[in-house]
């Protein structure tokens, strides 16, 4: 894994070579050393340990810019990269909106992070991953069930520097595991992602998945329609992920956001407060954005009112506000994106949500969620791997999976209970800190055969 000193050497080499050739230069170095072991049908199916690094150079030449990248890390290759970037930039038209590079001011955003690098995670071996997987398979086999899933572990590093004196470096570890346990006609699932491998409870996840598979056997078909639903955190995550870019300044400039013209207005329920907080203890990722600006905490929604947008430097300049440290690597037509979402939770435990439901559905996760209507934020998707009918305050039985078409704006106006916020992982977007939610009038359009 690349060290801070190694990354600085590469960046300094590129910047030194760019001096005199380009008006300004920005260099980005990334490295990844994450191994993934996969299993299915109670046995290992794939096991891979790739390692990679890359360097990317953006040059500004007479009002023009171009970005080139390479996986070749030799001094010669990096000098060639800079030369080619300069040549490419000169071939383009001037960009009238091109901003000079970010000049660091010494401010550290409005927060700081504790280390997200864990030595044990970085050193987690193939045999250790195999043992973790074996523990999940053992849970399945003990109940004559079948387990499938993954276990990955490793580390990533990011560094950025520019000709204005910027240099930032961040490295962190990651561990992730997901497990699906299947019976003949039912299944259960769990997933976890954390910078620390010790916090991934594989046996606990396998047991919860096995319990769901066992208790949703012989699923019945229920008619589509509007139901009260209890969404576990992963389901909340994978639904709300389709909302985050609507808080980007560029999405408003492009008139694409569903919140266009609504900043300052109450659009969501009173109990909805959402912020982007890179420093939250349950978050991961670097404390700087794609141009090296320090991330800041931004309240996106407060008690249902759309409060603020996130801005990279370009959209901030157009809005006449300060950038918030959410810019993507330039050049990028999207501009910026919130990446450290925290949805404020409540005190209602999942068991209490179930106990307080006369008739409704408990959803473990959602699947293949896609945006249908960008203005009203209707999304469609399926339930999957543990969908239960709740009646009279108890989980009654498993049900066959259903397709939903829901407006996320309506959904966030129909939240009747919130659980404590936890770090959740799903499949449709990046992990975030979200609660379980109980939602009324959740629209199911059709059913499927299992």
């Amino acid at each position: 894994m690349i060290t801070k000193n190694q990354a600085k050497k590469i960046i300094d080499l590129a910047l030194a070579h760019a001096k005199g050739k380009a008006d300004a230069a920005e260099v980005y170095v990334t490295a990844s050393d994450v191994a993934t072991s996969r299993f299915a049908n109670n046995g290992m199916t794939q096991n891979q340990a790739p390692a990679s690094s890359s360097v990317s150079v953006r040059v500004l030449v007479d009002g023009r810019q171009a970005r080139l990248s390479t996986s070749q890390m030799s001094a010669r290759a990096i000098r060639q990269l800079v030369d080619n970037a300069v040549i490419a930039a000169k071939l383009l038209d001037k960009d009238p909106e091109l901003l000079p590079l970010y000049k660091p001011t010494g401010s550290a955003g409005n927060g700081s992070i504790v280390s997200r690098f864990d030595r044990k995670t970085a050193a987690f071996s193939p045999d250790s991953r195999a043992a973790a997987i074996a523990s999940m398979i053992a849970v399945a086999k003990a109940q004559q069930l079948s387990a499938a899933g993954t276990f990955s572990s490793g580390s990533n590093a990011f560094a950025i520097g520019n000709s204005e004196g910027l240099f930032e470096f961040h490295s962190e570890t990651e561990a992730e595991s997901s497990v699906t346990i299947t019976a003949a006609d039912s299944s259960g699932w769990a997933k976890a992602h954390n910078p620390k491998v010790a916090l991934i409870d594989t046996v606990g996840m396998a047991r919860r998945s096995a319990d769901k598979a066992a208790s949703s056997r012989n699923p019945v078909e229920i008619p589509p329609g509007k139901y009260t639903v209890i969404l576990e955190p992963s389901a909340v995550l994978d639904l709300l992920g389709f909302l985050w870019y609507d808080f980007a300044g560029t999405s408003h400039l492009d008139q694409l956001s569903c919140f266009l013209g609504k900043v300052g207005q109450k659009v969501l329920g009173d109990n909805i407060t959402i912020r982007d907080d890179a420093f939250h203890l349950l978050q991961a990722g670097a404390p700087f954005d794609g141009e090296g600006l320090p991330r800041t905490v931004v309240t996106l929604v407060e008690n249902g009112v759309i409060k603020n947008l996130v801005h990279g430097r370009r959209s901030a300049a157009k809005f006449g506000v300060k950038p918030t440290g959410h810019g993507l690597m330039e050049p990028n037509p999207m501009g910026e994106h919130p990446v450290n979402i925290v949805v404020e939770g409540g005190a209602t435990r999942l068991e209490d949500m179930i106990a307080g439901t006369d008739r409704g559905l408990l959803l473990t996760r959602v699947w293949y969620v896609r945006e249908v209507d960008p203005a009203t934020k209707i999304v469609t998707g399926m339930t999957r791997d543990g969908t239960f009918l709740v009646e009279g305050g108890k989980i009654k039985q498993g049900v066959k999976n259903l397709r939903f078409n829901v407006s996320l704006i309506e959904m966030l106006n129909n939240v009747v209970a919130l659980g404590p916020s936890v770090r959740a992982a799903g499949e449709e977007g990046f992990p975030a800190v979200v609660p379980a939610m109980k939602v009324s009038n959740f629209n199911f359009a059709s059913t499927t055969r299992f």
């Binding site: 191994a35 993934t36 072991s37 996969r38 299993f39 299915a40 049908n41 290992m44 199916t45 794939q46 096991n47 891979q48 340990a49 790739p50 390692a51 990679s52 690094s53 810019q65 171009a66 970005r67 080139l68 990248s69 996986s71 070749q72 890390m73 383009l92 038209d93 193939p126 045999d127 991953r129 398979i137 499938a148 990955s152 997901s178 699906t180 299947t182 492009d254 008139q255 694409l256 266009l260 050049p331 037509p333 293949y368 969620v369 896609r370 249908v372 209507d373 203005a375 209707i378 469609t380 998707g381 399926m382 999957r384 999976n401 078409n405 359009a445 059709s446 499927t448 055969r449 299992f450």
Partner: protein, 484 residues
């Protein structure tokens, strides 16, 4: 590249591997984007590395490095073997491979004009010319354009003796016009959504698709959609245009035909399949006129190659013949598990960094005898024509699907009627395909290319092809996505 792959294999064998293969992949790429009348992105990249895959004690291991020195490659090969040994501790049955001849071969993808020889100025000029035309249409809020080009060489060597070198050029072009109203967002894309059209071809494909020539029309359509009536919520006959049908094929035939899914190996993420081995040669997937093939030999189609990423020669395999499910996309370690005597050649990897997994090649609907799109419309009394995908979603066994398209038109008495917005349709895959009663011929057949099929953990993005004519389906539920 030959020397380093042979060295990698040699190290792996000496470390205990019973089988090893190595791929050195070099990719050079260009991605150009415009937004309105500005260049929004010029990203040029290149990457090279080696991926080493081994079997040891019956378990799979894979490692990859971009450092092609002997020292680094030796470390990667030994890592692959260590990982394979760890795999073997978690296996009831060892992995075995179906036989495949060995090859000493070179394959080059067809193209007329090297896109890397075309200047950046020319490329940006094509996009900006189209953008000017779109922005000149009143009501267009954002105009986007993109071109991408990839030049890739792959050198594959296996411990069985294969030595295969392949070269590919892939190109894409696309434009999008957005129009925004009070509580409405519409868009139109050309030649297709999701980045446009992607082909195993050179610059000639950009010229062929004539972005400027179609810019005015799609801009006007985007604006017109704002005031168009919405798709009704009803059950009716649906004609799917070629590009939308291409995606339908991808989702409802291509994915369930992946044998790793059917065997439960993808159940944790992508899901399983209703096309289980006990249904092979029995299940009535579609009406008797439906024939679907996986054809890695189709010239110029995005998913074509000479050999897959485990050295199996490209093939044309029927997945559905005369409506009956009859084939799979398979690999050397899965094909024999369902009684196939050979892999169907569908193992593909996104890059040197990732292990090959079963992927689609070109999954295509064989043209029928219903003529052109105009012929099918003329033959339809009451229905809706839908074209150009907007959203797509399907369950994890590939039964229940719902798609929406950018645009639609009423069809009444054999004629196109009003433009419709917010068109969607849904169904259950075998019910839907059994309702197919008209398949167009070659008149409006296109080999569509989709660049970013996602599968695998970690996720890999794969470029796949889908040849499709227009086709008609009876009694389909439409408009459900916006039903409240």
């Amino acid at each position: 590249m030959r020397d380093i792959t042979e060295f990698a294999i040699d190290v792996a064998r000496r470390a205990g591997a019973s089988y090893a293969d190595a791929r050195v992949v070099t990719q050079e790429s260009q991605a150009l984007e415009t937004k309105d009348l500005s260049v929004a992105g010029v990203n040029l990249g290149e990457t090279q590395g080696i991926g080493i895959r081994v079997l040891c004690n019956g378990g799979w291991g894979f490692a990859a490095t971009q450092n092609l020195t002997k020292r680094a490659v030796e470390k990667a090969a030994r890592t692959a073997v260590a990982v394979a040994k760890a795999s073997a501790t978690c296996l009831d049955k060892p992995v075995t491979l179906a036989k495949e001849p060995t090859y000493n071969a070179r394959w080059v993808s067809p193209h007329l004009k090297d896109p890397f020889a075309v200047s950046l100025e020319t490329k940006i000029g094509v996009l900006l010319e189209a953008a000017k035309i779109m922005k000149a249409v009143k009501g267009v809020t954002v105009a986007q354009g993109s071109l991408t080009f990839v030049k890739e060489t792959v050198f594959f060597a296996s411990s069985e003796g294969s030595r295969i070198e392949q070269s590919f050029i892939r190109s894409s072009c696309g434009i999008v016009a957005h129009a925004s109203g009070e509580a409405d967002r519409q868009r139109r894309s050309w030649p297709n959504s999701a980045g446009g059209q992607f082909e195993l071809a050179g610059w000639e494909m950009v010229e062929k698709w004539d972005l400027s020539g179609n810019a005015q029309r799609i801009a006007e359509e985007a604006v017109a959609l704002l005031s168009a009536p919405a798709c009704p919520q009803t059950t009716t006959d649906v004609i799917l245009g070629s590009s939308q049908l291409g995606l339908q094929i991808h989702e409802s035939c291509g994915h369930p035909s992946e044998l790793d899914r059917a065997l439960g190996q993808e159940i944790n993420f992508a899901g399983a399949s209703f096309l289980t081995p006990d249904n092979l040669n029995k299940l009535k997937y579609g009406s008797p006129i439906v024939n679907l093939v996986a054809d890695a030999t189709a010239a110029g189609a995005l998913g074509s190659f000479g050999f897959d990423d485990e050295g199996v020669q490209s093939q044309r395999v029927y997945l559905v013949k005369d409506g009956i499910f009859c084939g799979y996309l398979s690999s050397r370690d899965t094909s024999h598990l369902v009684g196939l005597d050979r892999s169907g050649g569908a193992m593909r990897s996104e890059s040197w960094l990732r292990v090959p997994i079963i992927r689609m090649t070109n999954i295509s609907l064989v043209p029928g005898d219903a003529g052109s799109l105009a012929d099918i419309i003329a033959d339809t009394e009451d229905g809706i024509l839908m074209e150009c995908n907007k959203s797509w979603s399907i369950d994890n066994l590939r039964y229940n699907f719902q798609f929406s398209t950018e645009i639609g038109w009423e069809v009444k008495g054999g004629k196109l009627g009003r433009m419709l917005k917010n068109c969607s349709y849904s169904g259950i895959t075998p019910v839907f395909w059994n309702s197919c009663d008209a398949i167009g011929g070659y008149e409006d057949y296109v080999e569509w290319g989709l660049p970013n099929c996602g599968k695998g953990q970690p996720m890999q993005s794969m470029w796949t092809g889908h040849g499709a004519p227009p086709a008609r389906f009876r009694n389909v539920q439409v408009g459900i996505a916006h039903a409240r």
